[in-house]
């Protein structure tokens, strides 16, 4: 397919008159819709782009975005794709916020990509270790910018949209330098005000501020600290509702804060150099520390010894000797020798076995004596 702009039949009408324009590309159409072409500064406008594939003989892919500019900011709200065989339909939805008044051009990037079923199949035949790229023809589509005429806001407007205000001052009486938490929440639809200077700087107090936001809410968590009582003036936020074309004010009324200064003489030691410990105290504390260390060491040492003794006791050979001595008959001795699971007693076991169950004759006491002698060796 040729990247021939001459093949493009681009029809665009002036947006000031109608809010929709359709572009006829090579094998596709692109329809732009704008919700409003004459907004106020920071008033959101919705841009919807519908791309429809009209040439169903090949596989088409599209890439679209708004070009960045200082004159506006934008957020992509949604992309809907209906990917039927050789018949792709894509809808892009954007919110655009103009940032200055007058005529603003909104520019776009649109890329048409054309490929075949075979090339797609080949690209999928790769694996993790053998990635196969998609072979395609990229056709950049040249689009004329969309111009919108942006209206200026009334003077001193700080926020644009339909907002309301909640505030919470948790305490109004604190100790010196103790932070006073103030929560100011601005809720509503519009251009979220994230950079407001709600409380002016002052020598009387220090301000700490954290801003958190969600889609329809901005929360200013403020903390003010001061060494003496002070009054906080009204906090006035000037708002403008572009839908109603009306200005309004959001107000946090002025507030008096009482700061208690502690009696410094009671909490700070007035003596410059504290008394030095005398030598006798140091000597005894050294001895006490030594005794403590000795005690801990002894406990550890004795515990280790006790564990060792317990283990030795379990395999004490003398206890085995005693057990041999305590056996009263051949069966008990045989039982004891079998329990040792030691091949060195194999011959003795066979001997006892023969005495008990075979035809061999012998004396149990002699057998026991020889075993005791063997053990002592």
């Amino acid at each position: 397919m040729k990247n021939n702009l001459g093949n493009l039949i681009v029809k665009y009408l002036i947006f000031f008159i109608i809010l929709s324009v359709t572009i006829y590309g090579d094998g596709f159409t692109a329809n732009f819709k704008l919700s409003n072409n004459n907004p106020y500064i920071k008033e959101p406008i919705t841009l919807t782009l519908d791309i429809n594939q009209t040439d169903n003989s090949s596989v088409m892919l599209f890439k679209f975005d708004i070009k960045k500019s200082k004159n506006y900011i934008f957020n992509r709200i949604d992309i809907k794709t209906k990917d039927d065989y050789h018949n792709v339909k894509i809808t892009y939805i954007y919110k655009i916020y103009p940032l200055k008044s007058g005529n603003i051009n909104i520019n776009f990037d649109l890329l048409q990509m054309v490929t075949t079923d075979e090339k797609i199949a080949y690209s999928f035949s790769g694996d993790r270790d053998n990635i196969r790229g998609l072979n395609k023809i990229d056709i950049p589509i040249s689009l004329n910018p969309v111009t919108i005429k942006v209206k200026a806001l009334p003077k001193n407007t700080q926020i644009v949209g339909d907002f309301r205000l909640d505030y919470k001052i948790k305490k109004d009486s604190v100790k010196a330098y103790e932070p006073i938490p103030i929560d100011i929440t601005i809720k509503g639809k519009g251009y979220l005000p994230l950079d407001l200077d709600l409380i002016p700087e002052s020598a009387e107090y220090s301000i700490f501020q954290e801003v958190l936001s969600t889609q329809y809410l901005v929360n200013y968590s403020l903390a003010i600290s001061s060494k003496s009582s002070f009054e906080l003036d009204d906090i006035v936020i000037n708002g403008f509702n572009p839908k109603l074309e009306k200005s309004y004010k959001l107000i946090v009324p002025k507030h008096q804060f009482s700061v208690v200064t502690p009696n410094i003489s009671k909490i700070v030691n007035s003596i410059d150099s504290p008394k030095v410990l005398d030598t006798e105290d140091t000597y005894w504390s050294g001895i006490i520390s030594f005794i403590k260390y000795l005690f801990v060491f002894s406990i550890g040492f004795l515990t280790a010894k006790l564990i060792e003794l317990y283990r030795v006791d379990r395999i004490d050979e003398n206890s085995f000797l005693t057990e041999i001595k305590n056996t009263k008959n051949e069966k008990e001795l045989l039982k004891l020798l079998l329990a040792t699971n030691d091949i060195k007693y194999k011959e003795d076991i066979y001997l006892l076995d023969n005495l008990l169950y075979g035809d061999k004759k012998g004396s149990f006491s002699n057998m026991k004596k020889s075993l005791i002698l063997k053990e002592r060796k």
């Binding site: 069966k331 045989l334 039982k335 079998l338 329990a339 076995d353 169950y357």
Partner: protein, 315 residues
């Protein structure tokens, strides 16, 4: 001692010095169709022993080194496509043998262990849609690294139960090691000859059937096994918290078989309590599962078995 068995043992001793216990366990396994698990450090003539046994009996012998990347098909076999004839052919794995040394069984993952243990139990292998009976005798001697070593997969208790005996092989005695060293340096180990045919082995198995075991001794076996399950009923209250699981019924069966084989190898026509006592540690060692308390105290299953032997009266 049984003359034929003695002759076999003497033949094996030409190549194996010391390790009488391992030779005897292998013979018990061979006579009773049991499998042997051996635990111990390398270099204790495990491969040599089973190899010598296969030479003396003219049996087929194979060795499989278990590794972490081993697959079940590597040991049981697989269906392989024959390009020329356009058909799938069965390629039998090393399990199709008489004597198998499964070296370092706990280095392989559980799926391979399961494949081996299943074949040991069923004595049959299925590849694709076809099942194959394994040749008789089929004896597996598996070696295991002590579990404390790194890179090993613990064998589950249920699978350990498939082994008739677990043998812990220690180092050779001083004199034995001296002889091994001298013979190895001079390469003067005698070659093991084939002294027994498969028919002879089968006739020995037939003779083993005639070894008598008294009912009192059979009850003694059941009492010993029951004591591993409910020690408190046999006056072994101290073992109540030491044993987590006692031995299975397979342990009673294996102990019954092993003590008869032991008596037969000794040349007796009847079983005595000594025959039971001499094999019981090998039969129960891997079947008595100890509690965490016992492990913390450093108590071994051998100590528990010894305590039981000491307490239960001999008939």
């Amino acid at each position: 001692m049984n003359a034929k068995i003695e002759e076999l043992k003497q033949e094996l001793k030409k190549a194996i010095i010391g390790q009488d216990e391992m030779i005897e366990c292998l013979l018990i396994g061979l006579l009773t169709d049991g499998h042997i698990l051996v635990e111990g450090v390398p270099g204790l003539a495990k491969t040599k022993t089973i190899n010598a046994l296969s030479s003396s009996l003219d049996l087929d012998f194979r060795r499989v080194q278990f590794t972490p990347d081993l697959l079940p098909s590597d040991i049981i076999g697989a269906e392989i496509y024959d390009h020329q004839n356009n058909i799938f052919k069965i390629k039998k794995g090393p399990l199709f043998t008489n004597l198998l040394l499964a070296d370092e069984i706990n280095r392989a993952p559980s799926k391979v262990q399961s494949a081996l243990l299943e074949a040991m139990q069923e004595r049959q292998i299925t590849i694709g849609d076809e099942s194959f009976k394994l040749d008789t005798p089929f004896l597996v001697m598996a070696t295991q690294n002590p579990i404390e070593q790194e890179g090993v997969y613990r064998l589950p208790e249920a699978q350990l139960d498939r082994f008739m005996m677990k043998l812990v092989v220690g180092h050779n005695r001083f004199d034995d090691e001296l002889e091994i060293m001298r013979k190895a340096s001079r390469n003067s180990f005698e070659k093991v000859k084939n002294i027994m045919s498969l028919d002879n082995l089968n006739s020995l198995k037939g003779e083993l059937e005639n070894v008598h075991i008294d009912l009192e001794l059979e009850k003694y076996i059941i009492t010993l096994i029951s004591a591993t399950r409910t020690p408190e009923k046999f006056g072994l209250d101290s073992l109540k918290n030491i044993i987590a699981f006692g031995a299975s019924p397979r342990a009673s069966i294996d102990l019954h078989k092993a003590c008869r084989a032991k008596a037969f190898i000794r040349g007796n026509s009847f079983v005595t309590p000594s025959d039971i006592g001499l094999v019981i540690h090998n039969i129960l060692r891997h079947r008595v599962v100890l509690s965490y308390e016992a492990q913390a105290k450093g108590i071994t299953s051998d100590e528990v078995i010894s305590d039981i032997l000491k307490t239960i009266p001999i008939p």
